[in-house]
Symmetry: C2
Subunit: 339 residues, 2 copies
DNA sequence: GCCGTACCCTTAACCGGGTAAGCGTCCGAT
DNA sequence: ATCGGACGCTTACCCGGTTAAGGGTACGGC
């Protein structure tokens, strides 16, 4: 089966291909009657303009890129990215933009991908995830003048647009809730320390603990995997003055932590309260169900996509604040049992 | 910053752009000395050929497509797709192919996406997931002559290439293992019944139960979500002659089932043995860790990608059998306690 | 010395769209 | 009647690659 081209449409309509182009793009230059005739013929023979030809003649590629730089094993289990992608997609496909995905090994590879995409004119813009405190991707994208939206922030985004959520406020709310329950020794199992949002949460944790006079609070760092999360929990709970509550930076580590606590004979929430960041259906599958900091991730993705389309359209870059994560109390948090 | 074009390279090398094209593509027609000079200049100014221009002049788009047709909420929690994608990516990016992703609502939308991609020349080929027993995507892709690889099968793939795994054998092995432990009342919580692999597993389950004389075996269908999986489990366990072992079609439902069993006061594995299909890290995070049918999903994706690249290169379609899932016994299976 | 040919490179057409410029035609205003 | 201009469409060239055809030049064989 031959792919229909604009010339096929033009021939059947008895006009030039220039006229067809004007008609299909809603430009003036053809009469309304002719436009309708051309549209009907295009629909009839299933014509869609070649994205390559379109991209070539100066227009946009109608595609955006997302490079993911986490090892495959952590990518797989975290519901976060799939949620993000489905939200991004919903927004993009409504404007018939395509999403080009690439999994990369490290920051250098990611930068190389951006340069290639740019040189190949393959994408009109990109999403930047997992911002780091000193991120070389930001100056690279600025240099290339490739439209970009940082997912995360709000600091260190340079002149790029961003979508962010106030993790510091969410963390403070969580700590205050635990303190209200009567907890004084609160620990936190963080994600990769090189990531900006980990730093933001760590700073906020330090700040709020200082403010509330919780001088026994402690943060340990992990890497988002269940394995490491479990190990970190085991270390925390082996301490003589072990914490009575732990906040985990993602759901997978929280579930692993719950397992470890139960394995060590501790009652949750009696002996230990657990809070998970990222509320996925997983949190409700375990026993007790986990109190979690949740937020609408697909909506977050959709906002990011809208931001990117705006930047591509030439609007100035802005930093859009998304909803703050909210705490959903479930069975894994309670007042600490007096020892 | 201006993007370098082939003309820029040609000018600096003092040759025509035709010569540059030959040099960069390893074609004969330029001397080795000139080729090296051109390659050096191209590398120096960071030239990558525009994918649009390339695609336009008859060559390939250097991109393949993957349309995912599951609701966002089940997509997110299943580690399967992310594993598949990272495997596909590994193979594709080695040959600098891009992966275009689209989340679609239903089969009609998916077919429309294929038609659009085809008309736009956006992709050179596509992956087809979640094959159904009477799948309209197959004849559509045959009609369009769009290279495609079905992930799943081996039946109902028409003339398309495929990569598949022998689920029937894996299921039989699992049932035989449970019978060897002493189980006679075995239930299965299946996935969506319209999907081909669900049917294959169901048929295999019926066959092996018949062969082993397990006339009390039963299959119920669910939709891969933890919610539904839990509900199905509750129904099964409320029956007067409840099963002593349940096989779940994915890990999320198995974890939900474990929760329900514990909530109903049953000991796992004493009162109930549980087997999960799809062995993800999640299976090891719960207590007891789940016996699971696992397989190397990224490798599966990589094989699918290799198949697709072959079909795109013009090689005849073949049906490649991937490794059969293997059972990893863990703490959730044991001989049934005598009641 | 002349021809054949292999080699290296240039020229020009082509892919399928977008779009500025040009060119009839019709219509209303002067 | 003539002019000006709006309208509707065509023409032609552009984007940045690929590639068939062609054209010098050098070299070997007769």
């Amino acid at each position: 089966m031959k792919r229909p081209t604009i010339a096929d449409v033009a021939r059947r309509a008895g006009v030039s291909k220039g006229a067809v182009s004007y008609a299909l793009n809603g430009q003036p230059g053809v009469s309304e009657a002719t436009r309708q005739r051309i549209l009907a013929i295009a629909a009839e023979i299933g014509f869609s303009p070649s994205s390559a030809a379109r991209a070539l003649s100066g227009a946009t590629a109608k595609a955006v890129g997302l490079a993911l730089c986490r090892p495959a094993r952590t990518l797989g289990i975290e519901p976060f990215f799939m949620g993000l992608i489905s939200g991004v997609e919903a927004e993009l496909s409504a404007r018939s933009y395509a999403l080009t995905l690439q999994v990369v090994a490290d920051q250098d590879a990611e930068i190389a991908v951006y340069r290639r995409w740019w040189a190949e004119r393959r994408v009109d813009g990109v999403f930047v995830c997992d911002l780091r405190t000193d991120d070389r991707r930001v100056p690279t994208l600025e240099e290339l003048q490739l439209p970009a939206v940082v997912i995360g922030g709000p600091r260190h985004t340079g002149s790029l647009a961003s979508v962010w959520s106030d993790d510091a406020a969410a963390l403070a709310e969580t700590v205050e809730y635990l303190v209200a329950l009567g907890h004084r020794r609160i620990a936190r199992v963080g994600g990769l320390p090189a990531l900006l949002h980990t730093e933001i949460r760590s700073d906020a944790f330090t700040e709020v603990c200082g403010r509330l006079g919780l001088d026994e609070s402690v943060t340990v760092w992990s890497d988002y995997t269940g394995e490491e999360g479990g190990r970190a929990t085991r270390r925390l709970l082996s301490s003589p003055d072990r914490p009575t509550a732990v906040i985990y930076d993602n759901d997978v580590m929280a579930i692993a932590g719950l397992s470890v606590a139960q394995e060590m004979g501790l009652q949750v929430p009696g002996d230990l309260s657990i809070v998970a960041w990222d509320d996925s259906p997983l949190c409700q599958l375990v026993h007790p169900p986990l109190t979690a900091l949740g937020r609408d991730i697909p909506a977050y993705g959709a906002h990011a996509a809208r931001q990117l389309l705006k930047v591509i359209a030439g609007e100035p870059a802005s930093n859009l604040q998304d909803d703050t994560a909210h705490l959903t109390p479930r069975g894994s948090t309670a007042p600490p049992r007096v020892r």
